[in-house]
């Protein structure tokens, strides 16, 4: 990250090194066009600053945010909004055109929300025509999640605690360097990193009790890749070799005494945790090989395909030491201390391939055949050594554990597109999905593995109608009747439809509508799944030409989810429906009148978890000077839940900033 920022700071210096940029920039524009032979292919004057254009263009917005109040639950506010008070670099977006073309032709930089905000982004794109292109993307997101309604068995006792909570930061970096872009052979290298670091609360379960304990999260994944793109007229190939390294050092600890969630007496004794030290030390690596093929062998035929082989593996070292009063059902005794050590490994060879062929036998007809397969096989082994102190004496045990998961998944689809009219295209098709899997069987069945198959036949239809860019209607639908699926909730007998339309009523008005539907059912006697999700949306965009100081953007969406499925209540062994309902209304409006904008968004839902979430805003943009704008924005965040009033919050925020443009 430091390297990136240093690079960012150095870029303007490189650009400024060029003497007399204005004259240099003018020169090519004033010269007459050279004959074709005189132009060197690699010397593309693409991004030179033309006459009259600045070598630096962009904007910078710096401001201060006040948060006078956060009423209600601060933890919910942080879980949902998480914006803080203070000076911020709200946004910057600039382009450097290097007149000297030394080192680079052009650099684009965009950064937002720096200076303490929970979401920081940075993107840098530097290129020199015909020589290289370097892109770097960085994102840092604060992940705070602490909601008692999620996992708090002590809520009825008045304790507000989320026993699965996080206060971490996730950082993602991606850098890619393409050499000789637009040449016959383009090599490239890339690097990605994802890290998570922070604290939280997790559960520790042993015997008949479970305890909320402090947790430390620390993991990092690095991905390295290098490849080459080869373009040979009608045939193109990309070959890429990559690899990853992974490490996870999560730990949990507690200094006790911790009564846990079971606070009563068990066989006349409480079950406290006096101390805990738990450490995961997972190290992983993988390689992958990727090959992409694209070809236009004939004017009536196109072919694309890809093949990927990956082999991720992990090595696990786990240690746990705990003291307290625990009960172990296996020996029907209490024990006072436990020490577990586990070493293990898991390997998951994973092969994927796909092939697409498009045939154009007639001018109006296209046929697309698609085939895909995805196969993996996880084989894992672990050795667990347990050492317990039972009535003052050690009791040791060792278990050799193993597990596997196999999936062979395939899909074949054929679609025919027919241009019935120049404006109207019809589509029809058929898809067959099939596969088989082996997974670990439930504990009490006495089996090691359980198998299941997938057989799904899907019919497909679609229509597309358009008049230029003015009117556009797209509809597609698919339906399936399956006799075998993997899970009770999988798509089995389903219908899916989607209709989308947009209409440019005039140069000032744009209307759009979107409708989607999914019905799924599984009539098996012990499942009785009946699921339906329907969403309707409409939007209006108004930008009057005559009244340049007014505009309107409004979106409304209504969603309805209805789900019924049967499960068996363990304590009564009676089948009971799991019912879920969600009826949501969502509205976003922004109306602009000269320097003022008013609007915001709201979400109101009823059903299983009634919620309202309002985010109104008012903005004032005043052009102070030719290149300076004063922006002041007021926002109101308000969330209320009918069933979990303890998590409601409200907050006012005022942000004032200056935006400089050049």
């Amino acid at each position: 990250m430091k390297t990136l920022i240093t690079f960012l700071l150095v870029l303007p210096l490189c650009a400024q090194d060029a003497p007399k940029p204005a004259q240099d920039a003018n020169k090519p524009a004033q010269e007459p066009a050279k004959p074709a032979e005189a132009v060197a292919p690699a010397a593309a004057p693409a991004e030179a600053a033309p006459a009259g254009e600045s070598w630096l263009k962009g904007s910078l917005q710096i401001g201060y945010r006040w948060i006078p109040n956060i009423d209600g639950s601060l933890n919910t506010y942080r879980s949902v909004v998480n914006l803080g008070e203070g000076l911020r670099l709200l946004d910057t977006d600039f382009t450097l055109l290097n007149p000297s073309k030394r080192f680079f032709d052009r650099a684009d930089v965009h950064a937002s929300s720096w200076g303490g905000d929970p979401y920081n982004t940075l993107r840098v794109d530097v290129q020199k025509s015909g020589a290289y292109r370097l892109t770097a993307d960085y994102r840092s997101i604060a992940y705070f999640n602490f909601l008692p309604s999620f996992a708090d068995p002590s809520l009825s006792q008045g304790l507000l605690l989320d026993q699965n909570s996080f206060d971490t930061r996730i950082r993602t970096t991606d850098v890619q360097l393409d050499l000789l872009p637009n040449k016959w052979i383009t090599p490239y290298v890339g690097f990605s990193r994802n890290t998570q670091f922070g604290r939280g609360i997790t559960g520790f379960h042993t015997g008949f009790n479970d305890y909320p304990v402090a947790s430390l999260y620390s993991d990092q994944t690095n991905t390295y890749r290098a490849g080459v793109r080869i373009e040979l007229g009608r045939y193109h190939v990309t070959l890429e070799q990559g690899g990853t390294t992974f490490k996870d050092d999560q730990g949990a600890s507690d200094a006790g005494p911790n009564a846990g969630n079971f606070t009563g007496l068990f066989l006349g004794s409480t079950l406290p945790l006096n101390s805990l030290n738990e450490l995961y030390r997972v190290r992983g690596d993988s390689i992958y090989t990727k090959a992409l093929l694209a070809a236009n062998p004939y004017s009536w035929m196109s072919v694309t395909g890809q093949f990927v082989y990956a082999k991720p593996r992990t090595d696990i070292n786990y240690t746990e030491a705990s003291t307290g009063t625990f009960y172990l059902q296996r020996i029907l005794q209490f024990y006072s201390a436990g020490q577990d050590v586990l070493v293990g490994d898991a390997n998951l060879p994973h092969v994927s391939g796909s092939l697409t062929v498009e045939l154009r036998p007639l001018r109006r007809l296209r046929v697309v055949e698609y085939w895909m397969t995805d196969r993996f096989h996880n084989a894992a082994n672990a050795l667990l050594a347990e050492n317990l102190i039972v009535s003052g004496a050690p009791l040791t045990d060792q278990q050799l554990l193993s597990d596997r998961l196999v999936l062979n998944s395939n899909r074949e689809e054929i679609d025919a597109f027919y241009d019935l009219l120049p404006q109207l295209t019809l589509r029809g098709g058929y898809r067959f999905e099939w596969g088989d899997t082996q997974v670990r069987a439930p504990i009490l069945t006495g089996l090691a593995l359980q198998s299941a198959d997938l057989r799904r036949n899907v019919g497909i239809a679609g229509v597309n109608y358009r008049i230029g860019q003015k009117l556009r209607i797209t509809g597609d639908a698919e339906g399936s009747s399956s006799d075998q699926t993997y899970f009770r909730t999988s798509l089995q007998n389903y219908e899916k439809a989607h209709i989308r339309a947009s209409y440019d009523l005039s140069a000032e008005w744009r209307l759009a509508a979107d409708f989607s539907l999914l019905n799924n059912s599984n009539p098996a006697p012990n499942v009785m799944l009946d699921y339906s999700a329907k969403i309707e949306s409409a939007s209006v965009f108004w930008t009057p030409k005559a009244i340049k100081w007014a505009n309107l953007l409004a979106d409304y969406s209504r969603s309805a989810v209805r789900s019924n499925i049967i499960y068996l209540v363990p304590q009564t062994l009676s089948p009971t429906p799991s019912i879920y309902r969600d009826n949501g209304h969502s509205l976003s409006v922004v109306a602009g009148i000269k320097w003022f904008s008013l609007g915001g968004s709201l979400y109101v839902s009823s059903g299983s978890r009634p919620t309202t979430y309002y985010q109104p805003l008012a903005r004032f943009n005043w052009p102070v000077y030719k290149h300076v704008e004063w922006i002041t924005e007021w926002r109101w965040y308000s969330m209320a839940e009918d069933f979990y009033g303890i998590e409601n919050f409200r907050s006012n925020q005022l942000t004032t900033s200056l935006r400089f443009t050049r």
């Binding site: 066009a33 292919p41 997101i141 559960g203 996870d248 597309n464 979107d514 049967i566 363990p570 969600d582």
Partner: protein, 322 residues
């Protein structure tokens, strides 16, 4: 319910076809009045005239193009269109140059999306992102490349926007229902500008459903940021591998914490782990478990992840306790 939905769909489809027919008829050019037949002229072969000829009338467009990566077509000999970049997409322009009539030149904006795509894919078929374009959802829905890409670089020197906020605005103009989900309280941080739609989706194509990007070669793109969930684990939670993250999460947004598909954790779990065996006559379903002893009336057992903490996969315990 299903019948009524299907009936509604049928009516909607019939309405669309009817409306399309009417609009098509109304869009036809009026019949020309009968004119005396002219003697047939020998058809001239169409020829390439070069970009300088185009520039004479379309200077602004030409100058914009020269600021974009497409300028390589004009200046590079590799693709065979040097000094003819305009005609590389618009076709030979000799007739148009003579008549100045828009009818005499190929205008991709007026072509069927499939034809537009073929024009672009002549050069771009092999690039990493559009390689699976032929089978993508956008291609099936006849969304042409030019719906998102500005070929001439109008409004800037970029062929496509890179600013996350602008990307989201672009996608949301069509994907209204998806964007509405981001008004919900628990969502990925797209409205805040921390992420964009293309961080998770490859708009060109993916061999995964819903054009979800791939990470580490062939795994779901979700793992690019949530790589601690990648594994492989000693004990996998099969649903993650077989159905993906969306079996339990609504990644666009939800009113339920952690973007869960249900309002309580136990219902997310129990709908699969239902304690109900499938009858022998039925094909087996995974995830069913024999009756457990959990007393769901106790808050301890209403939050499964309090004990089953490693629900995304465990390296130590087959029941995901640790």
């Amino acid at each position: 319910m299903l019948n009524s939905s299907l009936t509604g769909l049928s009516r909607a489809a019939a309405g669309i076809v009817l409306m399309a027919s009417c609009l098509t008829i109304s869009a036809q050019p009026p019949a020309k009045s009968a004119e005396p037949a002219k003697p047939a002229e020998p058809a001239k072969a169409l020829e390439y005239v070069g970009s300088e000829t185009c520039k004479a009338c379309h200077e602004e467009i030409f100058n914009n193009l020269q600021k974009t990566p497409h300028s390589a077509i004009e200046t590079g000999a590799r693709r065979g269109w040097d000094q003819k970049s305009c005609e590389s997409c618009h076709g030979p322009g000799s007739k148009h140059a003579e008549s100045a009539s828009a009818d005499d030149i190929k205008n991709p904006a007026k072509l069927a999306p499939g034809q537009v795509d073929r024009t672009c894919l002549q050069c771009h078929l092999n690039q990493n992102t559009p390689v699976g374009r032929l089978a993508s959802g956008h291609a099936k829905d006849q969304v042409a490349c030019t719906s998102c890409h500005s070929v001439h670089g109008a409004g800037g020197a970029k062929l496509v926007i890179h600013n996350k906020t602008e990307i989201n605005q672009k996608c949301s103009t069509c994907h209204l229902t998806q964007w509405a989900s981001f008004n919900r309280p628990y969502k990925h941080r797209l409205p805040e500008g921390a992420m964009s739609c293309v961080d998770c989706h490859n708009p060109h194509a993916s061999f995964r459903d819903d054009t979800v990007r791939t990470a580490f070669g062939n795994e779901p793109g979700c793992l690019q940021c949530h790589s601690d969930k990648r594994g492989p684990f000693v004990y996998e939670h099969p649903v993650l591998r077989l159905e993906g993250c969306t079996a339990c999460h609504d990644p666009h947004g939800s009113a339920n914490p952690r973007m869960l598909t249900r309002h309580e954790v136990r219902l997310v779990c129990l709908e699969c782990h239902a304690n109900l065996p499938i009858p022998v006559a039925q094909p087996p379903s995974l995830g069913g478990v024999p009756p457990a002893l959990h007393d769901l009336r106790s808050p301890r057992f209403q939050n499964c992840t309090i004990c089953h903490t490693k629900v995304h996969g465990s390296n130590v315990d087959r029941t995901f306790f640790r």
